[in-house]
Symmetry: C2
Subunit: 491 residues, 2 copies
């Protein structure tokens, strides 16, 4: 997209407007997307010293500061390097009705690292395409600009910056790098831009030879692209382009095959438990010292014993090394973001362990059954979840997903026992009884989930939960086996 | 508190109970504070290798993981060092009904730094006492433990750790330091403990010569102290100890002295504006390069022109260097924390600028007038706010507080003009009209606020807002003057 780029063509198609007029139009577009609750993400990437700051200043000049936010992405900090590379961008995504402007972007690493080519590059681009696709499907408007300039122009600009006392701090190592190796970067940028010019999210290369023109161009295009985006989204909401049918027919029903007779006698249990807990502790230390992040998911029918299994698993672990996160109904702020957003920010950094008691799988269980998400939304969620877990896996995360199953009669027994025990009665709510009435719907959703999100890199472990002791031992054993495996592979 | 400490006295007054029984009692206490919506903060500090991890493991063993969280504080990271030292602890405070356990604490810096003595130490302790007092006044239960051990015991423990393959990573530089200089640390810890053994928040020194005893001791004391705390809080809620009258009588009314005739003619304004905006830009770069954080607060009556003043102030600044934060009604999560919590997390790191469009001063204005806070709460807020701002000031933060004032007639004119202009009508809400009916109450609250929170380190600038142009220039000039001053002092 950069090679043979015509710097002269269509310099400024918006030149009949003053910059201020364009700004005011954008401000009206902002009010529109704010009223329609549509999030907008504008990426301003490009060469060093190509005027990203200049352009962004004009972009926001007339905007209502309550509803936009500029995020600058520099070299990742020490803390950020302990997370998958998309993590810091997830945290700055716009909420519904707001505009987020990224100075640099998801593409930070791939643009800067000339040595990133071939499969490694493709893998990162695939991760980026997943997040853009997922935001787009969630009715986000994404606009990607790349500011392009000639070699001579860049050199002139950097030289000028160097002479400016107030601004010389802005010259980074990257400026110097690009100054020396314009040709190499041109090739690399071109490759990356071509690979990431997705049909659903295109790049807009803008000449910054003249900054004022670049700025007007970007303002004008942003206004047009926001309106285009609104049309697309409103069209879909009115039934236009949404998929009407999903391409899945239930084949397998893993929960029908669960052997609920599996049991351990007390003696066996006592003999196993202490040793396994000590071994789990030992492995948790090794995961920590080897910098391996761990994500565990516990799902299951109500009263299947998730809490008890988590307690037994972590019994001997150092509480400073793990955290149990329970997933309740989303807050207002969480509802204003993509459904994965609230989980993303809790993902572990290297060496940490996060245990999710219920999780993002709510999207394809409770949100499906209670119709908080429509079919098109939960149908695509399987794939979104798989891609997110793959991104974690690419960062060498240990991912363990447990589904604990009990049958309907056992659930009733447990509900009744909770009703009568004073220390347990708080665990039983009206909602539990209501969910029970939808048992069949839940089982159908659970079966589909267990089939469609069972991947090589993040397989489900179905735990026979009828006898609590059996379930707890199986969880411990699975953790020990999988932790041992990833440690062997890593060390 | 450590010198002459009797390691033999009252070894374990809870020995009639099994650890598991104590754990279950604590778990019941947890349910109690959860039902009563009381936050609990447990600090476990002490010597290196004194068994903090061991103790914390027993503390949480029987707790419901949904309502406790363990936070470990190690040497501050690169990012954390860019903030005032209390910042990272604020972010981990318990929400109402939850228990937060800190492994190390606010005292991290003061305990570790042997060279911290005299006034510098007193200053830090004063900051810590403010936060403890403020949490206590907000009905938090704070429990502070210090694990103490003999020199020989510490050396034995560190030697043993060194031999343990799985755990040797736990030995830090601090262990080695204390190993070599037990006597110096003993003196220093003793000084710090004595200085921070506040009447309202005492230290509990616990011998860890025997870890099991230490653990039972801490479990038992925690249960007792939680019940004590509940009694105190419930007693106050029932009218017992709350102050009935505040010790303030309105003397001054700064808003009565505002000269609303001040104006600039168009020519003067145009002449001044551009130069001042460029100068503001230049200073904003210098604040950035000098690593000075900036906090600006904009308050004022409705329609006084806060937004417009912020826009003109930042017009030429790089939008990547500042952020405008608007303060709406608090979310559920924010309501479950201290009222300052949501602002604290947004405070700038070194070099950044955060502009608050409305702020923590809502506590003594809208919350007072609408009676969301009771008199005792807003009356003590003046002091809490002053102390928080002092903590920012101690970190060399540029603090600017603007209060823009217009009279009641001018407000009416602006409301009416908003009603008729299509681009402005969104700015006017029913709430604005309702607030207007309480004009006198608001003015009374504002006058008191302007008197009681006008400090040397964070003074108010009252801005005559009747003519927007005059107000905007005054804001620009004040910023330029104060930024220049802090830069002169710093560089």
């Amino acid at each position: 997209m950069l090679k043979g780029y015509d710097f002269k063509a269509g310099k400024n198609p918006y030149k009949q407007f003053k910059t201020k007029e364009l700004g005011e139009r954008l401000s009206r577009a902002q009010r529109l997307i704010n009223n329609l609750n549509i999030p907008v993400l504008i990426i301003v990437d490009g060469w060093e010293s190509s005027g990203k700051g200049f352009v962004i200043k004009d972009l926001v000049k007339e905007l209502n500061p309550k509803h936009f936010k500029v995020s600058v992405f520099e070299n990742p900090t020490e803390d950020e390097n302990k997370r998958p590379f998309l993590w810091r961008f997830w945290n700055k995504l716009p909420k519904k009705g707001d505009i987020a402007i990224y100075d640099r972007s998801f593409y930070f690493n791939v643009f800067n690292d000339l040595s990133l080519t071939g499969e490694a590059l493709d893998k990162d681009i695939r991760d980026i395409s997943s997040i853009e696709k997922l935001l787009l499907d969630d009715d986000t408007i994404i606009i990607k600009f790349f500011l392009h300039q000639k070699e001579k122009t860049q050199q002139k600009r950097i030289d000028k910056l160097k002479e400016d006392e107030d601004r010389s701090f802005m010259i980074s190592e990257r400026d110097e790098e690009q100054y020396e190796n314009y040709g190499d970067y041109l090739n690399h940028f071109d490759t990356v831009l071509n690979k990431s010019d997705f049909t659903f999210s295109k790049w807009h290369v803008v000449s910054s030879e003249n900054k004022k023109d670049a700025s007007d161009n970007i303002l004008g295009m942003t206004i047009d692209l926001i309106h285009e985006g609104i049309d697309r989204i409103m069209g879909m909401k009115n039934g236009g382009l949404r998929k009407e049918l999903r391409d899945y027919s239930p084949q397998e029903k893993p929960l029908e095959k669960v052997n609920l007779k599996l049991e351990l006698d007390d003696e066996e249990y006592d003999k196993l438990k202490d040793d396994l807990q000590m071994e789990a502790q030992r492995l948790s230390f090794r995961l920590y010292t080897n910098g391996i992040p761990t994500v565990m998911v516990f799902e299951g029918v109500d009263a299947s014993g998730k809490g008890g299994a988590i307690e037994r698993l972590t019994r001997e672990m150092d509480p400073r090394g793990y955290e149990v996160l329970t997933t309740a109904a989303p807050s207002e702020d969480e509802k204003a973001h993509h459904y994965l957003w609230r989980f993303y920010k809790d993902f572990p950094q290297k060496g940490d362990m996060k245990i999710f008691d219920r999780s993002w799988y709510g999207r394809v269980m409770v949100e499906r059954v209670e119709q908080f998400a429509d079919m098109e939304e939960w149908d695509r969620a399987y794939n979104e979840i798989n891609e997110m877990e793959q991104h974690l896996h690419n960062f060498n995360t240990l991912i363990l997903k447990f589904f604990i199953y009990i049958d309907k009669e056992e659930q009733l027994r447990r509900f009744k026992s909770r009703e009568t025990e004073p220390d347990k009665v708080f665990k039983l709510t009206d909602e539990d009884w209501r969910n029970r009435e939808k048992w069949t719907d839940y089982i159908e959703a659970m079966n589909e989930m267990l089939v469609r999100t069972d991947t090589d890199y993040a397989p489900w472990t179905i735990v026979e939960g009828q006898q609590k002791k059996y379930a707890r031992i199986k969880v411990l054993q699975t953790f020990i086996e999988q932790a041992g495996k990833i440690l062997d592979e890593t060390t």
